[in-house]
Symmetry: C2
Subunit: 221 residues, 2 copies
């Protein structure tokens, strides 16, 4: 895999100390985040669309209907920006000004390429299902020929990429530490709720472990 080097586009400018170009960190954020927000331009208008992604090595895959405006635009070789954000907690300071969020985000710039090769397309489908729920691709019916044809798969290289991370307690102005208000962090987590079985589920079908014990942290591997 190519190393990640900051470019003029990915050099974090605000809060440089929060910028990171470590591939393991970038990968872990991409893998934990369920969705990304893909940005592209149509007639000079920026458009930001939430979509599911999945990573294989240093490629970020996105998919959707062949009718999707986003994918049709990316297919033309349009510049894109894919951003992924994990909100880890509220940072509650003693002053309004020093309130913040703990987060891990990744921004990827580049252009996407279509996955035409059938084997790679199948691997991408599998990676996307596994990204959502590890182990599931082996439990469900794989895409047939028509479904495969109706689905466009595009990938972006995870090369021009950067992460930005804030962690830890609030940093208040020295004069504010004496204020009597509570300050600290409220960690936030995505918590799965009890699964709701489909009405037409065959009686006695067990809930699989990867659903019962679902968490984003171990969503993959």
């Amino acid at each position: 895999m190519e190393p990640i080097k900051p470019t003029t586009r990915t050099q974090v400018s605000r809060h440089r100390e929060r910028g990171a170009y470590d591939r393991a960190l970038i990968n872990s954020v991409l893998d934990e985040a369920l969705i990304c927000h893909a940005g592209f331009v149509v007639d000079q208008q920026p458009i930001v669309i939430p979509t599911i992604h999945a990573r294989i090595g240093d490629r970020l895959y996105m998919h959707g209907s062949v009718g999707s405006r986003m994918l049709k635009t990316l297919r033309t070789g349009a510049s894109a920006c894919v951003t992924v954000t994990l909100v880890d907690g509220l940072v509650l300071a003693r002053s309004a000004f020093h309130h913040s969020m703990n987060y891990r985000s990744v921004v990827i710039f580049g252009t996407a390429k279509e996955t035409v090769d059938l084997e790679e397309k199948r691997a991408a489908f599998e990676a996307i299902v596994e990204h959502v729920c590890a182990g599931r691709s082996k439990e469900v019916r794989a895409p047939d020929e028509n479904e495969t044809k109706a689905t466009l798969v595009m990938w972006m290289p995870i090369i021009e990429a950067s992460a930005k991370v804030r962690a830890g307690p609030p940093i208040d102005a020295e004069r504010d530490y004496a204020l009597p208000c509570w300050a600290g962090v409220v960690p936030l987590k995505i918590q799965p709720q009890p699964p709701i079985a489909d009405d037409r589920l065959a009686a006695g079908t067990p809930v699989p472990d990867n659903v019962t014990n679902y968490t984003r942290e171990n969503a993959r591997r």
Copy 2:
């Protein structure tokens, strides 16, 4: 408040049945979502940045350092797209193809204006703190003159806006309902974890109710 009417930009094209232009729905999604993803264009490159927002009436406020590239770009009157996404659950179908997500998203197109008026700027600061944690703006030190000057506040009209919602069980192909695999929905929720008090908190400072009982659903009103 101006009514919301679909324009060529906000008319949902894929899955039209999921499109919605109801102001109450749009407002509720904007209010529940902790952050948005703001898209803008610099030298033909789309850039997507996560940021906190807050709504007052039909205005969406964003704020940050006067040095922020995003805000400096918006200040020039650049076209913007602000997208907010709530992931409500995994939709696990019997076929890979019919997997989906339950979500509520809002897309707003337009250009942002700077909030220069001091009273409006203070109201925006308050709305942003309240957006993160209801009741908190009264408990913390308000921004002083320097902090106010160092912060740029921009707002976008919530007029050219649309929501997109998917809810409910998986919709499988008729032939797949007989498959023996589990299918259904795994609802996802943002769950606050026990608050972590700042190390320098004065002994005996109580954890306020709005922190103890924090949820995004009742984050506002």
